[in-house]
């Protein structure tokens, strides 16, 4: 089986979600003054995100840099305190857990970090790093812990002698395996992978993604998988949430998001993914978003995307986008969109027409002032999603 297979037609899972966030907000205060600090504002990194993650599924979370996806993950894992809203893990409200209760909860939710060079303590051997969580949670100690560390090292495919080695002796991909082993050490149910493969070479990305998929099957893990690379997320996710400026703008089963994106932002993201067929690729219309992401300290009124929205321009700048904040509306089973005009994109023909028109307009602009036209931060993957499974997968 492949992760793509489950992603293909995943129905909306039923039952109690393993993780639920309810209007989660994480704001960072902006202060002035040295001795007497005054609050003069807040960076609204995560601003009212409600998501469910069901047991055994992978929820992908995509968006440009700075849209709050990492902050969201850190808040969920309780590495950052939520400003408002609730985090419910397996029926328990964990939003304000402290001390021992929090430590017990940490056994059940773990995190994989983005930069494999920064996430391992350079002064600790892989073995002592893996034994540490076991000791902290009094799962095992001494010989037993060493044995378990050895097991973990083998599970993630590191060489047997890795436990006596220091992180600097390993390559990026191997370090990331060590990071995964650390997350697995306490046998968690939920793992937040924060850009777990973004820092790796493409060939290594495939290995790590396959490893994550294997581990998910073996240990019945639930993932929150964060990335800015759509093709990576698509590959592993059952459902995908698209974030923009601290809010979820679209939530949909993974396949549907690609075939029928309903939010103009998602359309732009999907259009940026290259297609591994030169014939199709040359005809591919790329939607180029203009300008930078607005500051989360002072988000635009109404729909936060309206300052860069191509659909709004095509529709003649309707006032509603500026005055009214769109709610996440159910457009299809399990497919929510936060756009007042999502209906415009629902029909395939109408969507193609609009996209073509917008692409033409943005092309025209590109020749006018090339340096103003910034492509989205979504990096086009050098390789196609289908290729992730080839080669490496064959070895399993």
């Amino acid at each position: 089986m492949t992760a793509a297979a489950t992603a293909a037609g995943a129905p909306e899972p039923v039952g109690q979600p393993l993780l639920r966030t309810d209007q989660l907000r994480v704001h960072f205060p902006i202060t002035e003054g040295i001795i007497f600090e005054r609050r003069v504002g807040a960076v609204r990194a995560v601003d009212g995100v409600s998501l469910d993650v069901h047991r055994g599924e992978t929820l992908g979370l995509v968006g440009e840099s700075g849209c709050g996806k990492s902050t969201f993950a850190r808040a969920v894992i309780r590495l950052l305190d939520a400003t408002d809203g609730r985090i419910i893990f397996d029926g328990t409200d964990v939003t304000t857990l402290r001390g021992d209760a929090l430590r017990r909860m940490r056994r059940r939710m773990q995190m994989i970090f983005q930069d494999p060079y920064a996430s391992l303590n350079p002064r600790m051997t892989i073995g002592s790093m893996l034994a540490e969580p076991l000791r902290v949670h009094q799962i095992a100690s001494g010989k037993q812990a060493a044995k378990r560390a050895q097991q973990l090292v083998e599970i993630v495919g590191l060489p047997r002698n890795a436990i006596n080695r220091y992180p600097h002796e390993f390559s990026g991909g191997q370090r990331q395996r060590a990071g995964i082993a650390r997350a697995l050490a306490v046998q968690p149910e939920f793992i937040a992978a924060d850009e777990a493969v973004s820092a790796l070479d493409v060939s290594i990305q495939a290995q790590i993604i396959n490893l994550l998929a294997d581990l998910q099957r073996e240990f019945n893990l639930t993932y929150l998988f964060i990335a800015h690379d759509l093709s990576v997320v698509r590959h592993i996710s059952d459902r995908i949430a698209v974030m923009y400026l601290g809010e979820v703008v679209e939530l949909s089963p993974s396949r549907q998001l690609y075939d029928r994106p309903l939010h103009p932002y998602t359309v732009a993201l999907v259009s940026a993914v290259p297609i591994p067929d030169p014939k199709v690729e040359t005809r591919r219309k790329r939607m180029i978003l203009r300008g930078d992401v607005p500051s989360p300290a002072n988000p635009p009124s109404g729909c936060r995307f309206h300052t860069r929205c191509w659909l709004r321009r095509e529709l003649g700048d309707p006032e509603r986008c500026v005055s009214e904040t769109p709610e996440l509306r159910q457009m299809a089973p399990g497919h929510g969109v936060a756009c007042h005009f999502a209906e415009e994109l629902a029909g395939q023909d109408r969507r193609d027409e609009l996209v073509a028109a917008a692409a033409e307009h943005s092309d025209a602009r590109k020749t006018d002032d090339a340096d103003v036209v910034a492509p989205t931060d979504i990096e086009p993957p050098p390789e196609a999603p289908e290729h992730f499974m080839s080669g490496d997968a064959a070895q399993h």
């Binding site: 850190r74 894992i77 590495l79 430590r103 940490r106 056994r107 773990q110 995190m111 970090f113 983005q114 930069d115 060079y117 920064a118 996430s119 391992l120 303590n121 350079p122 002064r123 600790m124 051997t125 540490e132 969580p133 902290v136 949670h137 495919g157 590191l158 060489p159 047997r160 002698n161 006596n164 080695r165 220091y166 600097h168 002796e169 390559s171 191997q174 990071g179 650390r182 050490a185 306490v186 290995q207 396959n210 490893l211 490496d392 070895q395 399993h396």
Partner: protein, 296 residues
Amino acid sequence: MTQATGTLAATYEDRPIGLWTDALRRMRRSPAAIIGVTIVGLFVLMAIFAPFLAPFEPTRGTLADSYLPPSPEHWFGTNIQGQDVLSRIIFGARLTLGIAVLSVVIGVAVGGLLGALAGYFRGWVDSVIMRGVDIMLAIPGLLFAIAVVTYLGRGFVQIAVAIAILNVPIFARLLRASLLSLSEADYVIAARSVGVAGPTLLIRHMLPNAVSPLIVQGTLALATAVVDAAALGFLGLGPPDPGTPEWGTMLSDTYRYLNNAVYLAFFPGIAIVISVLGFNLLGDGMREALDPKLRR
């Protein structure tokens, strides 16, 4: 996947390479560091084996022998009391290096503790300690040391304490800054997410990664301490017994006779310069060897 890791495993030696071993290896490739180690090593050996190396007793001399220029018998000449300058420089290394090491040890211990407290507890503890540090840094160093020696009285330990006090704010700031940046490091956050908390986090994850700048700064502080000790000696705040060989004191004894006996000032001056140079080269070499950016 298993195939790949199998071949990778084969490329490793069996002995794990620790960070310190790695740093040492890189230091051995740096000529500056080697020169530094050699100079410092020679001075240390000189201090340890002073009684065997010195041709004469440093405190004995007859007035008949005063102001002898350098000769095969007295390589560096003799001073006004007829004491052998070479022997005094060799014995002087004991005092100077002793003061330098003791002052840095005290400085690192006290400054490190303050820095760790500030960096760990943050909040008002941090504010209080750091404002204190700011005040200390605002006072000119040597003046402060003179005041401290005047207050505590002259003597080996007093001089070391005075110089240590100058070092305390530097080390406190350094460690605090390291800890603050480390507290945002991914691996510290990772340790927190695994459930490691409080003092364990500080001792196991943060301090071991904060020591290398402290070691580098400590080595460089040794050089400054040598100069400071000599300056105090030169200003007449050296050891209470004027007969005790000390490089700074030796300099101040001789500057009046510079016109006809340059060598008297020259040799203690050279001793100070070379030892300071040695510590500086060593410190720079260690900075390069321990810099994580040069690894990978």
